[in-house]
């Protein structure tokens, strides 16, 4: 059983990430349930997704249960930290250095250097997939991204994903 919170601002692609992870897990025959934010908040407001892998019926993670908190916006980390387990890991989109319990990657910067800040969600996905205990391996996610039929999007996403994976090996 693994539980993840993904958070950020509306428009950063949190729902996209949740959907990709859930579909890969579904293809692998796992039980997975998630909850998303829709509606007015997607206009730049605070957004989070819950993703629960295991025999859960409810899509909401109770406080203090998440193994990972993946935050695309540093300002949103504090709004969601109460979902994290005591020994859970925060993965944060930030230019600051990591510290115990906080893994940090400048996903926006890397995405901008690849041509669009909008790729920041896929960069942080690549980085997160290398962490111990993450429910999917880089190879499992990459082979899913390779199935995207629209070439331009596929190429961009794969470059962003690889850059995230690469950033992890450089920081460790």
């Amino acid at each position: 059983m693994t539980e993840l919170i993904l958070c950020g601002r509306g428009g950063q692609g949190i729902v996209f990430l949740t959907r990709q992870l859930g579909q890969i897990l579904t293809d692998l025959g796992r039980d997975v349930i998630s909850s998303e934010t829709h509606g007015m908040a997607v206009r730049g407001g605070s957004i989070n997704s819950h993703l629960r892998i295991g025999p859960f019926l409810s899509p909401l993670i109770p406080f203090g249960n998440a193994d990972f908190l993946i935050s695309l916006d540093q300002g949103e980390t504090g709004n969601n930290i109460h979902f994290l387990k005591p020994n859970g890991v925060v993965v944060e989109n930030s230019v600051m250095a990591g510290e115990p319990g906080f893994k940090r990657i400048d996903a926006s910067g890397i995405a901008r250097s690849l041509g669009s800040v909008r790729l920041e969600n896929v960069v942080i996905l690549g980085y997160s997939s290398t962490l111990p205990g993450f429910p999917l391996s880089p190879a499992e996610i990459r082979s899913h991204l390779e199935k995207e039929p629209r070439e331009r999007i596929r190429v961009q996403n794969l470059a962003a994903f690889d850059a995230g994976v690469q950033a992890s090996s450089e920081s460790s």
Partner: protein, 610 residues
Amino acid sequence: MTPQKSLPSMFLLGNEAIARGVIEAGCTVAAAYPGTPSSEVLESLVKWKKSLHHPIYLEWSVNEKVAFETAYGASLAGSRSMVAMKMVGLNVASDSVLSAAYLGVRGGLVIVVADDPGPHSSQTEQDSRFFAWFAKLPVLDPCNPQEAKEMAKLAFDLSERYEAPVILRPCLRVCHARQNVPLGNPQPVADAGQFKKNWQRWAAIPKFRLALHEELNQKLAKMRLTEPFAQPEQAAGDGHAALAIITSGSVSSHVRDLVRTDPTAYPVDVYRVRMPFPAHGEALQNIVDAHAKTLVIEETYPVLELHLKDRRKVMGRLTGDVPEQGELTPEIVHHLVAKALGADSGEKTAPEIKARRPSLCPGCPHRSAFFLIKKVFQKAIYTGDIGCYTLGINMGAVDTCLCMGASIGMAGGFVHSPLQRENSTVVATIGDSTFFHAGVPALINAVHTKAPFVLVIMDNGTTAMTGGQPTPAHQELADGSPGVAVNIEQVVRGCGVEFCEVGDPYDYAGFESLLTDAKDYTYGKRKGVSVIIARRPCVQYARVAPSEDKFVVGDECDRCMTCIRDLECPAISFIKPEKKIFINWDLCNSCGFCFQMCPSHAIKKVAVHD
């Protein structure tokens, strides 16, 4: 029989799962008006129709009432039909729905109504199970996406067997949950046979309505007493615990997950009700009688609780044990269960959340329209409406927001009130889709009563808030097939409006001048309502590429803060340590309005080359 293919599972949103159930049930007509959290039901039917080459007819109707009537007409024509809406949409459709309950249906008719406990994206926390009781219609309450798909199919079957419309009531935590959902093979399309004229039923006058009411009551009694899913399902425990929990819908999933984490810590019997109306009151009462205490956990009204005749051992909303408003989150459920067991839940409260408020997008044409409305009509009363542009509240450009279409009706009331006020200027703002939905009758009313207000129709060419669904002004229908575009200015003029002008809200001088003309028409010449259509495609859903222009703030900036305070563009921020205004190119959509608006001409266009 052809062998059925075994199909994979998909990670589906609750609304997508419902749509899949609708297709699998052989439904051939579906109509909806978008509204969070229901919009994805029809959107995913479009996808299933295309990928399965299914013959289902799909439409985004002009409003929920018309959507229901479309589905109802199709049911009489013999089709299995579905209509989807959010719960406040059911208020709009209620006239038709309550009458249809008496008349009954031919092809199975399922009303998908998405509830929003919280509320997260709605005006009310109304409970559609309670509405179903009021309307005397059966209602099914799914606990997650997997069950929602199965219940959609069950609902068609139930509807056809009892010749009654059936409500499927998913809460937001079902609609916007995703889950691995096993796909089934679609059944062949259903056909209840050709419509047979029978005015005593399908056009029943009051004399016949009495008999139809009795017939409906008999249907409900039979359903309650004979349908297996009317019986509460034992979802946890062995029936011997001191505490029973009666629950239904998405909140039942929080209850069951909690109890399963540690059955010794939570020695309870959980009973889940899948059809909360017509509820099997006797079976529920037997549960209460067999346990020392019973806790009722349901959203959002005490529907099951009210079905219990003897409530002396019951804890719920009526006894004040369960909060009367707000979503029942896993933490609240944990607290309620622990309290009922006399244990300490170590009550966990969320830390103070500094939630970022939503805002109109950078480059949103509503922002520039609101900015100029405020400039031309200072200190006016701004009646607003339902859509993205409700966010005009951030700019002080929306003072009221009641329900769909109310901006126009309320503006009439403001200006007709005979009480003297210093400034009786009123500007109503409404989006294009909302105007079609409920604004047209109100506008006719305003013309007829010579109501002196200015109406600005914020025409971004889409239903933006709910995800960019088409409006009647589109050439294309829901599934891309050709329709007839209804021209907004023709509708406005057809309502009897003499002053109707179209302008581009990105055009600072031009749009300001139109607003000034409208002001002169309505308040100078006292000629009644004037209408301006602010036309510019939504930046999220426009099919045109944005301009490549980039903007910077030059040294001329005198920090007047107009761009921060009055324009409120998320791409523009004030950097405190440096006391400088900064334009964030990651967020900027290059609309260029700030460049036109800056009082000290400090915002400059710069050439950007890759």
